[in-house]
């Protein structure tokens, strides 16, 4: 890394890093928003699909004489239980997907922030080291 890459560039490297970080943060926010939006939509789709599938399922039991007014067969009850469990599993899987997406974006945001802080700290360390080295060199007395 040359001098122009750190303090000798009068803060350009730091400013550039901050700007990259801002762009990355915006991208993360957008990803989180999109993930949340996508998960919500998926949940809605799942709910809608299972809601819309309930009537055909119940009708199928009625057509076979396994359901209806005053009829509570075990097959129908078991079928509905599996339907409800499957519905719950799909909801849980999609909920977990949303959580994972959001947490991944959060960790990515944290990683980028940590990387930025480390880079800026390194720049400041190198700046301080070079200032110290220059001050300690006493270059004006090199002719002696």
């Amino acid at each position: 890394m040359s001098m122009m890459d750190n303090y000798g560039d009068y803060g350009l490297a730091e400013a550039s890093a901050l700007r990259r970080r801002q762009r990355g943060s915006l991208a993360n926010q957008a990803a989180a928003f999109q993930g949340q939006k996508r998960g919500k939509r998926n949940l809605e789709d799942i709910s809608r699909n299972y809601t819309e599938g309930y009537q055909p399922l119940a009708s199928s039991f009625g057509q076979r004489g396994l359901g209806g007014a005053g009829v509570k067969s075990g097959i129908r009850r078991s079928g509905l239980s599996r339907y409800a469990e499957k519905f719950q599993r799909d909801l849980g899987a999609e909920t977990q997907n949303i959580q994972d997406d959001l947490n991944n974006v959060a960790m990515q945001e944290a990683d980028q922030q940590a990387e930025l802080e480390d880079y800026i700290a390194q720049l400041r360390l190198q700046k301080a080291q070079q200032i110290m080295a220059t001050a300690a060199s006493l270059q004006q007395y090199a002719s002696y």
Binding site: F87, Q88, A121
Partner: protein, 401 residues
């Protein structure tokens, strides 16, 4: 007979040589002794006496007829002698009333003597003129030599003064520099100390600025993790299914498992964030240590540099002082040597009387009157012997015919 007696008296007067015995310092011109010996050996006839007297008396036998006052270096006795010598010369040349009874041999001898006298006369004249010329030239040379000597003395004295002033100026020049060196050295040391102090302040400032810029990492400390374990979705369809006789055990079990999975994943994420946060804290500590260590190293380097440059500055000024002192000494010695040389050269042309060596005639030795008298007696004796020999020769010739 009377004429003969008169002639004899006249010859007697002519032979009377002015006495030179009155003084040892006659102021005569130089006549080498060898000349006296040589002339005595060559003496012949009547000219021998004259020649002998001439040789004993002076080398300028006829200079006496020169104008009075033109030869102040010739004494009165010498002038009398010259006059007598001139008279003898005239006599020998026949202008002085010589005897008509001279024999042929005497005439020849007289002519020879006259020629010798004439030669001596010319020689003496040339030598006298040479002495005059030499003295004139000597006077001019002395005058010019004195002027030249004065000019050289003045010039060399000025040179000596210049080198003397140069020595003083050199001393002042180097002295000023040498006097300035300690203050300049102290100024350099002060500047070094100030630079070191400024360096330390800069290092401390950079350290403080860096440490203050370090903030506790918050990236993983408050991660907005989602945990849906406690908020499982509830759908109205579930109520309807329950009302229609669907069992709740499976739904409850599935919901409980989903909640547990959600809680597990959420806990995993929180744990990860916690670990990452710990790593960030450790990294922050490492950065802080690096900054502090860099500052400590910088201060140490400054301390070492201060000692090193302080020694180098001291060494440099010590060397410079020695060099300047050596150069000043050399310059002073050179100026002193040149001053002394110029003074010595000037001393050779100093204020003492000028005595320029000129090729002057040697000082004539004092004439010994006794030796002159003995030489005259010897010349008289030889004269008589020669006359006797001539007479015998003539008698022999007459007997032969």
């Amino acid at each position: 007979m009377a004429v003969k007696k008169k002639t004899k008296d006249k010859d007697k007067d002519d032979k009377k040589v002015p006495s030179l015995k009155s003084s040892n310092t006659l102021g005569l011109e130089y006549t080498p002794r060898s000349v006296v010996d040589r002339t005595a050996k060559k003496r012949t006839g009547g000219a021998d006496a004259i020649e002998a007297q001439q040789a004993l008396g002076t080398v300028e036998p006829v200079v006496a007829d020169r104008p009075e006052g033109g030869e102040p270096y010739i004494s009165e006795q010498m002038k009398l002698y010259r006059a007598w010598l001139k008279k003898q010369k005239d006599k020998a040349l026949g202008g002085g009333g010589g005897s008509t009874a001279l024999t042929e041999a005497q005439k020849l001898a007289n002519q020879l003597a006259a020629l010798k006298i004439q030669a001596e006369y010319d020689k003496a004249d040339r030598e006298a003129q040479k002495v005059l010329d030499d003295r004139e030239a000597t006077a001019l040379e002395k005058e010019e030599a004195a002027a030249t000597r004065q000019r050289k003395f003045s010039a060399l004295s000025e040179v000596a003064n210049i080198y003397g002033r140069q020595g003083a100026e050199t001393d002042a020049l180097y002295g000023g520099q040498l006097e300035d060196l300690p203050s300049r050295q102290q100024a350099d040391l002060d500047a070094l100390l100030q630079a070191v102090s400024a360096g330390k302040e800069t290092i401390t400032g950079a350290e403080n600025q860096f440490l203050s810029s370090l903030v506790a990492p918050q990236a993983y400390s408050d991660v907005p993790l989602v945990d849906f374990s406690t908020a499982q979705p509830v759908n109205p369809l579930m109520g309807a299914l329950g009302a229609e006789g669907a069992g709740t055990a499976g739904v409850t079990g599935q919901s409980a498992m989903d909640a547990q999975l959600a809680a597990q994943y959420a806990q995993l994420a929180r744990s990860s964030a916690q670990q990452l946060n710990t790593g960030s804290q450790n990294y922050l500590a490492a950065l802080r240590n690096a900054g502090t260590g860099a500052a400590a190293a910088g201060r140490q380097h400054l301390g070492m540099g201060q000692n090193m440059y302080q020694n180098q500055i001291n060494t440099k000024y010590s060397d410079l002082t020695n060099q300047l002192a050596m150069q000043r000494l050399q310059a002073q010695q050179e100026a002193a040597a040149r001053t002394a040389q110029a003074q010595a050269d000037a001393a050779e042309y100093g204020q003492a009387p000028v005595d320029v060596p000129v090729d002057l005639p040697a000082t004539p030795p004092p004439v010994d009157p006794n030796a002159a008298a003995a030489a005259a007696a010897e010349a008289e004796r030889k004269k008589r012997e020669r006359e006797a020999a001539i007479a015998a020769l003539n008698a022999a010739r007459r007997n032969q015919f």
